[in-house]
Structures are given as structure tokens and as C-alpha cells.
Amino acid sequence: MNPIPIPEDRHFRPRLLGYDPQKSRPWLERLVYSAYVFVFWLIVIGTYAGVPALFEALGWNAGWGFVLMRALQVVLLFLLSAVIALLLILVLRKYLGKVQERYGPMHYGPAGGIQTVFDALKLLAKEDFVPAAADVLTFRLAPAVTFVASFAMFAVVPFASGWVLADTNVGLIYLIAVSTLSAYGVLLGGVSSGNKWALIGALRAGAQMVSYEIPLALVFLTVAVWAGSLSLGRIVDAQLGLWNVLPLALSFVLYVIASLAELKHIPFDFPEAESELIAGYNVEYSGMSFAFFFLAEFVELFLLPALIVVFFFGGWHGPLFGLEPGSLAAGALESLYFTVKTAVWVWIFLWIRATLPRYRDDQLMEFAWKAMIPLALFGLVLAAYLRLIWR
């Protein structure tokens, strides 16, 4: 019995969907990206201005009401990270396509705009597989640890003056602690998979992330010495006259390199080197577990450029056109400045990803220990000296 009816001319032709995009439409692409960024901006405003205002109006801004408010903000931030991942994966694919002289996803949705939504839905409904050789508890825990470690960095990143979940005076130390945690997730995931490729990927990830954590921490220290505070809000405030990128140029370059390594981004993508290790530490992950690794990667791809902006490019600072600082409109404008600056840095990271080949593993370690750490120490001493004679 023949299960599928054969057409009369015995030729199956693919269905042509209703629209016929026969050329790239750059204006439509820009519209789609702008729509995503607009949603992002709306969520930021809602999280940092809308929710507190709502709770203040209800009179719930003390005790359990305050806890509830923070919980609601965290839920909104989770939504924000989903929007970031959907947008950045789309932009990455479109940009890599452009660089390789082709068009990326373009047929599903306006200019391919909902391609990543389809991807996410598919991953949601795909079988979540646990190999027989895996350590089930650790295997299940690892994607969550990775994602939570990346996601927790949102707590101290200021989107505008006062728009931060926890403007703690140990913000930098918190950042170091939390960003090191994501190495645990990758390491646990790789080791618990019971797969040789995953094990090698995880060991590489551990070595790489621990090595590059040190120059990263030293650069954090340099910034703290220069600004005289560990709070990210104060660091941004201290840059009102002069952005840190000029006096701390050396540390800035080191920070960019170290955050590329921290992101496991080309040219430092050893943990998931596709030509060597199949998919590295996430080789045994499928479905939603894999999606969480993916989500964590792209949330970090937003957060580390955001930290570049906070540390070296004046955070939310920009012309306010006479708006009263602290008001809602000023906050919205400042968060827009912050978003645009971050977007530029994300683009530069993608540009690097599209250009450079991968380093060799031993070169990577040599570079970290023989070049990055001495230079970072030198940058720290230089910053301290400059601060003594300048301020």
C-alpha cells in the first residue's frame, strides 16, 4: 500500500509559501532588529521603572512586598534574556551570512525575523536525552548552573542611573564570583556526560576559563582602583568627565581579549571546537538542556560587552537634552544610550567571530600566563600611579 498519494505527473514540488522574497530587503531587516531592540527597551523600562512604581502605588514596597517586587523583576529579566538570545542568534546568523556573501535566514517571518522563535519552539519539543553512561543528577544540573551563573550577572549591571537590581558596594567581587561559576556548569556538564569528547571539551573549558579569569579579575581591580569603588554605579559615575578607555587603554584591550576567552568565543572557542571535538562539552545534550547552554552563551554575549560599556565607555552617560536626572524619561533615554553602546560592542564581537581563525591550545595557555597576566599587573600598577599623580 502506498502511504503518500502520488501527484498526477509523478513529480513532488515543494510548496511555495505565499510570499516571494527574491532579494534582501535591508530596510525590513533593520525594522525587525529595531522591533526586537524596542521590545528589549520596553522590558528594561518596565523592570526598572514600571514595577517599582507599581509597587509604590500599591504601597507594597516594604517587607514581603519588596521581595515580591524583586521576584517580579527577576521574571522580567528572564524574559529579557530570552529576547536577547532570540535577537542575537538571528543577528549572528544574518551577519555571518552577509560576511560570507549569502543571505542568512530570510524566508520565515519578515526578513527571517521569527526564525529563532521557530528554533526555540523546536528545541522545546525535542527529546531531552540522558545517555546511559551519564551521571543523571549532575548532567541535569549543569545547564541550569551555567545559565544561572550567566543570568545572575544581571543583578549588578546598571542600565541607567539607579536602574539596577542590587547596587551593592561589592559589585565587582560579586561579578568575579558569579562569572567563575559558569565554568563549573561547563565542567560539570562535560564530565558528567560520560563521553570522551565532552570530557576533553570540559577540561579545556576549565583550563581556559580559570586561566583567563585571572587577567579579568586584575582588570576589574584596575577599574576599581581608578574609580575608587567596587560598586558598578559609582564606577560609571566616576566616568562623567572622561571615559575610562583613555587612561586605562591597556587594561581595556586586555579586558576585550579576556572576555572573548571567557565567552568561549572565536578565536578562543576551544571547549566546543567543532572541527576537533564535535561539539565539545555539550556533545551529549539535546533539546531544552542544550537550549539552556545556548541561552547562557548568548546572555553572556550581551553581558560581557555590557560590562565593557560600564567599565570603559561611560555606561549610560550621554546628552540628556535638559531632562531632569532621575526622572522616568531621563532613565529611559539613559538606558537607550546604554543599549546602543552595548549593541556596538556586540557587533564588534561578532565581527571578530566572523574574521579570526582558532588559536592553538598551547598558544592559548601561553598567551594567558606569559602575556596577559604580566600586562594586566602592569596595567594595575600604571593605573594606581596615574591616579596618584592625576587626582
Binding site: 502506498n2 502511504p3 503518500i4 513532488f12 514540488r13 515543494p14 510548496r15 546568523r93 551570512g97 560570507q100 556573501e101 549569502r102 543571505y103 542568512g104 535566514p105 530570510m106 524566508h107 520565515y108 527571517g112 526564525q115 522563535v117 521557530f118 528554533d119 519552539l121 523546536k122 522545546l124 519539543a125 525535542k126 527529546e127 531531552d128 536525552f129 567543532e274 564535535i278 561539539a279 555539550n282 556533545v283 551529549e284 545534550y285 539535546s286 533539546g287 542544550f290
Partner: protein, 184 residues
């Protein structure tokens, strides 16, 4: 492939709509496995080059079978390779589909009387779409991928079983330590 591994579309209007939505997403985000066998694999690579660019339809290669949805069998399958191919197929997470590309994978092609050749990959894995040709054009592969998209997205077609081909157990079975053939 149904929503929750079921064999038919749910009658419920909500679950049915959800089933359609999920399968629409599946059909528009098919990630093939990086798995090339022979000369057809060259044409498979050419399908993702700037001239054809299957990435327009949201397809890109995943290296690990756990994250791949579609296996493109692109070349002659030897009896030695057949076990590995079946193993890769078993490692792929549900739902999964197979495209048989080229004459050799379809029924052995010019090598079909060879002592070492599996005459048709559908004896090892269930095949959804076949492409004739030796090798097929990259456009033909894209056509096959789009036919697979239409099959998954169609609420009738996606529950149709492929034509039943008796499995070739001689090819797949490998004697265990006790010298006996395992039950497949």
C-alpha cells in the same frame, strides 16, 4: 511524529493546534547532521554555499547527532558503515528524519550487485525523502529538504508511515562476546 510521541494528531482543538504549531516550528528549523559519506557529500556542502544557501530556510549543520534533526545519507553505504550509520541514527534525539541522497543510498546504484554494498539505506533506517541522481544537484537536495518541510508541516502527511522495507539484519548484527547475534 506527534506532539507527545503519539502516532496521530490529537482530536482536541487546543492540543491539535499546539501540535500544528510545534510541527510548523520543527519543519522550519531542521538541522542536518554533519555526516558526509561520498561524492554526494560534496553536493551537500554546495547546498549551503552562497549560490543555493539552504540557511535561508533556517537549516544549518550540527556536528553532534544529539542536536540534529535530519540525517542526509550522502553516498554508498557499505556493510561496514551500515552499523555506524544505524548507531548515529539511534543517537539522534526524537523527532528525527532521514533523507537518502543519490542512487547509491537509494538502492545501491551502480554498485548494487557489489558484495560489500547495502542495497538501499532504507533497509537500515526509515527514509522519508529520496533523491535520485548521481550525484543530485544541490537544488535537488534543497528540493528534498523542502519536501520534508512540507511533509512535517502537513497535518495528514506527517503521520503517514514510510513504506515498510524489511530490515537487513545480516548487515546490522554484530556478534557479541558469546558469539551470538544480538536481537535488534
Amino acid at each position: 511524529m506527534g506532539l507527545l510521541g503519539s502516532d496521530e494528531r490529537p482530536r482536541d482543538i487546543i492540543l491539535g493546534t499546539l501540535d500544528d504549531l510545534i510541527n510548523m516550528a520543527r519543519s522550519r528549523s531542521m538541522w542536518p547532521l554533519t555526516f558526509g559519506i561520498a561524492c554526494c557529500a560534496i553536493e551537500m556542502m554546495a547546498t549551503w554555499d552562497p549560490k543555493i544557501d539552504a540557511d535561508r530556510f533556517g537549516m544549518f549543520f550540527r556536528n553532534t547527532p544529539r542536536q540534529a534533526d535530519v540525517m542526509i545519507v550522502s553516498g554508498t553505504v557499505n556493510k561496514k558503515l551500515a552499523k555506524r550509520l544505524r548507531r548515529l541514527y539511534d543517537q539522534m534525539a526524537e523527532p528525527k528524519w532521514v533523507i537518502s541522497m543519490g542512487a547509491c543510498a537509494n538502492q545501491g546504484g551502480p554498485f548494487r550487485q557489489g558484495y560489500s554494498v547495502v542495497e538501499g539505506v532504507d533497509k537500515i533506517v526509515p527514509v522519508d525523502v529520496y533523491i535520485p541522481g548521481c550525484p543530485p544537484r544541490p537544488e535537488a537536495l534543497l528540493q528534498a529538504l523542502l519536501l520534508l518541510r512540507d511533509k512535517i508541516a502537513d497535518r495528514e502527511l506527517r503521520y503517514q508511515k514510510p513504506r515498510e522495507i524489511p530490515a537487513d539484519y545480516d548487515v546490522l548484527a554484530e556478534p557479541g562476546k558469546d558469539g551470538r547475534l544480538p536481537v535488534l
